[in-house]
């Protein structure tokens, strides 16, 4: 009540503590990360590896060479794309666990489409494949979206199920209609698709490395999503739905529509992640194309504060972590599943620590209100 009165009568209270809050908000996930890494160190020690040596291998593995850094950026690209979708969905308080399935939908499209229209020139084929992949992922997100909107089906469960269905669909297609003809003639019957025509491969940014143009696309899209969410009416409505569904409903907004829309868009971005993995990295479809990005993208999104611009450094960090984990695995013989475990802990600690971020925000709000009241008394 108090805040409403203030906002109509006087200017909003000055946010003197703003930079301190921002610093605090950024340090909370970092502290959560450190705590998770600390527990990881204990686990490493229990597994008989030297934690310091292991983490040193992780860091030098990434930052010790150009190839390490570019590999990290290559892994950061799908994380960023999936994370953008997660941001849009979570902002509408829709929890999208369906990244894995949506990546697969995009990757399937990115395989089938160029193989079907293989005579098209690259300048035409690449953009159309990107759009088609986006649409395929969006379709995979639309199903749980419309089920939530129309029938109130819990989207967490339906997206998990859509993941499992997508995996089986891909397994079926790369062993059947999409199987590499070379594998048939050679008699190996490898479960992978034919190699895509070269004109559809995403151009390399640095020769001799894996870094491809998808990374630039992802950063540009991050800016676009930021503008979309904070500078357009639809984006504003999506965020309003997430902040307070009841209020937006009373205000006449079609809440289910915006939730379904956000899940569809989330699927589209995850689908794009599948496209860049196929066109930029693998140049064909094979099992395990998702590399778990559907889940690690959630971690990156939470870590980036569910903000498209915060996601850029967060994805780079987690890309580095994933690459470093591979190097660490080789250096100290610890399975990379350790990193999956640590990622799970990061999620738990980041969502757990939200309590302190909220309390800080509440305290700051109270202080600002008191200050504003005092100012008002003084002027009166």
């Amino acid at each position: 009540m108090e805040s409403k009165k203030l906002s109509t009568q006087s200017r909003p209270p000055k946010t003197a503590l703003h930079w301190r809050e921002a610093l605090f908000n950024a340090s909370v996930p970092l502290a959560a990360m450190l705590l998770a890494l600390l527990i990881g160190a204990i686990m490493l020690a229990l597994l008989g590896a030297n934690p310091l040596q292991a983490y040193a291998a992780l860091v030098t593995g990434v930052f010790g060479s150009v190839s390490g850094i570019t590999q990290a950026l290559v892994k950061a690209t799908p994380l960023l794309l999936v994370g953008l979708g997660i941001c849009i969905a979570f902002r509408a308080s829709v929890i999208n666990i369906g990244g894995e399935g949506q990546i697969i939908a995009g990757a399937l499209m990115a395989t089938w489409f160029p193989l079907t229209f293989r005579t098209w020139p690259g300048w035409l084929l690449i953009p159309t494949t990107l759009i088609m992949g986006f649409l395929a992922g969006a379709a995979w997100g639309f199903v749980p979206g419309i089920l939530k909107a129309r029938l109130n089906v819990n989207e967490i469960l339906s997206t998990v199920m859509m993941n499992a269905i997508a995996v089986q669909l891909m397994n079926m297609l790369i062993r059947g209609p999409l199987i590499d003809p070379a594998g048939i003639t050679a008699g190996t019957y490898l479960a992978q698709s034919e190699r895509l025509p070269e004109q559809v491969w995403l151009p390399r940014l640095i020769p001799q490395t894996l870094l491809h143009a998808g990374a630039i696309l992802a950063v540009l899209l991050a800016l676009a999503v930021y503008i979309f969410l904070w500078r357009t009416t639809i984006g504003y409505r999506i965020r309003a739905v997430g902040l307070n569904p009841d209020a937006t409903r009373y205000a006449g907004l079609n809440v289910p529509f915006y939730q379904a829309l956000s899940l569809t868009l989330a699927g589209g971005f995850a689908g794009l992640a599948g496209v860049v993995e196929v066109l930029g990295v693998q140049h064909r479809l094979l099992e395990g194309i998702t590399s778990g990005y559907g889940f690690s993208g959630i971690v990156a999104a939470l870590f980036g504060g569910l903000h498209p611009l915060g996601l850029i450094p967060a994805s780079a960090l987690f890309g580095a972590l994933l690459v470093g984990a591979d190097k660490m695995q080789r250096a100290v013989q610890v399975p990379s599943a350790l990193i999956d475990t640590i990622l799970g802990l990061v999620v738990l600690f980041v969502v757990g620590s939200a309590l302190w971020t909220r309390r800080w925000a509440a305290r700051r709000m109270m202080a600002a209100l008191k200050q504003a009241e005092k100012d008002e008394e003084e002027t009166a």
């Binding site: 686990m43 597994l47 929890i95 666990i97 199903v143 089920l147 029938l151 109130n152 089906v153 819990n154 967490i156 469960l157 339906s158 998990v160 199920m161 859509m162 993941n163 499992a164 269905i165 089986q168 669909l169 397994n171 079926m172 062993r175 059947g176 889940f295 959630i298 971690v299 939470l302 610890v334 399975p335 599943a337 350790l338 990193i339 999956d340 475990t341 640590i342 990622l343 799970g344 802990l345 990061v346 999620v347 738990l348 969502v351 757990g352 620590s353 939200a354 309590l355």
Partner: protein
């Protein structure tokens, strides 16, 4: 196609269905406890994996299935405490913390399996136990009364859970906390303690679900061996309308579909195995779509409770 409907095959499908319902039953009834108290625990699959691994490893080392089961329950309890701490004490967003717990459990069980076991090994799990007299009945006997102890336990759990939730003070408190935590709080019920208790009971049962896979049904451990059964179990709670009997109906429906697709593959019915494996997941979506709108969920489900907020 004709042989699909012969008596032996139908009996075989039903026998498998009873067996395969076991992990669903433990996990879903456990989840019903957590959800009735207002906490959605989406980490069930992760708990099943770590507990399933613990049961497998302890049984492998000691040869004692009971120690294996105990280990699974202990690990389940620890995971439950972690989940309660994050979602009750720290009042975190339950959907995401559950996914964190799932990722943690998936990673940890794979890690431990790779480091401590490495290759596929089998254990001698709970033996089949033919009940006297009943087990000797023709047709009915093999279908219902020649299973291992955890299978009987799962079905016994249904009336027990119903009784606890519907007929005891505990159950009443759990329901009160899930419906109206503020009112329960004002009547002197410790909301947080009841939620801790319910989540932990659920997690211990999820642990038993994992153990039932690794030391009763399959007698081995594989990475990600649950293949999403924990998530299906959460869906079954919605499907069953938060009632043990309804959950049992759902679990049996799912296990029958599973058993049916396994038998179709055994009999070489011309259906791609990938399509067959998809069926339970598709069925889950359909089941959710059909049932969710009619069920009355606990009013405070998914809402952290903070004193003086309402």
């Amino acid at each position: 196609m004709n042989q699909l409907f012969s008596l032996t095959v139908i009996a075989g499908i039903l026998t498998s269905a009873i067996r395969l319902a076991t992990p669903y039953l433990y996990a879903a009834i456990g989840e019903a406890f957590a959800q009735t108290s207002g906490v959605v625990n989406l980490g069930v699959d992760g708990i099943m994996l770590v507990s399933g691994y613990a049961a497998f490893y302890v049984t492998l080392q000691t040869g004692n299935v009971w120690l294996g089961l105990l280990a699974a329950m202990l690990v389940g309890l620890l995971m439950g405490l972690l989940m309660s701490f994050i979602s009750v004490t720290l009042k975190a967003e339950q959907g995401i913390s559950g996914i964190g717990l799932y990722m943690f459990g998936l990673g940890l069980s794979s890690l431990l399996f790779k480091v401590m076991v490495g290759t596929v090994k089998t254990v001698s799990g709970f033996p089949a136990l033919k009940l006297p007299l009943l087990g000797d009945l023709p047709v009915i006997g093999p279908i219902f009364f020649q299973h291992s102890l955890p299978v009987y336990g799962a079905f016994l759990l249904v009336p027990v859970a119903w009784w606890v939730l519907d007929r005891t003070t505990w159950g009443l408190q759990i329901k009160a906390v899930g419906q109206n935590p503020a009112a329960a709080d004002s009547l002197g019920v410790n909301v947080d303690r009841v939620r801790y208790f319910s989540v932990c009971v659920g997690a211990i049962l999820a642990g038993m679900a994992g153990a039932s896979l690794s030391i009763a049904l399959l007698n081995l451990f594989q990475e990600n061996m649950t293949a999403g059964q924990g998530f299906i179990a959460v869906a079954l709670v919605y499907f069953g309308g938060w009632k043990p009997l309804g959950i049992m109906g759902g679990a049996l429906l799912f296990s029958t579909v599973n058993a049916f697709q396994l038998w179709m593959q055994v009999l070489g019915v011309k259906i791609p195995s990938d399509v067959a494996i998809m069926m339970p997941y598709l069925l889950t979506i359909v089941a959710l779509a059909v049932t969710v709108s009619r069920a009355r969920q606990p009013a405070a489900l998914n809402k952290p409770f903070e004193r003086g907020e309402n």
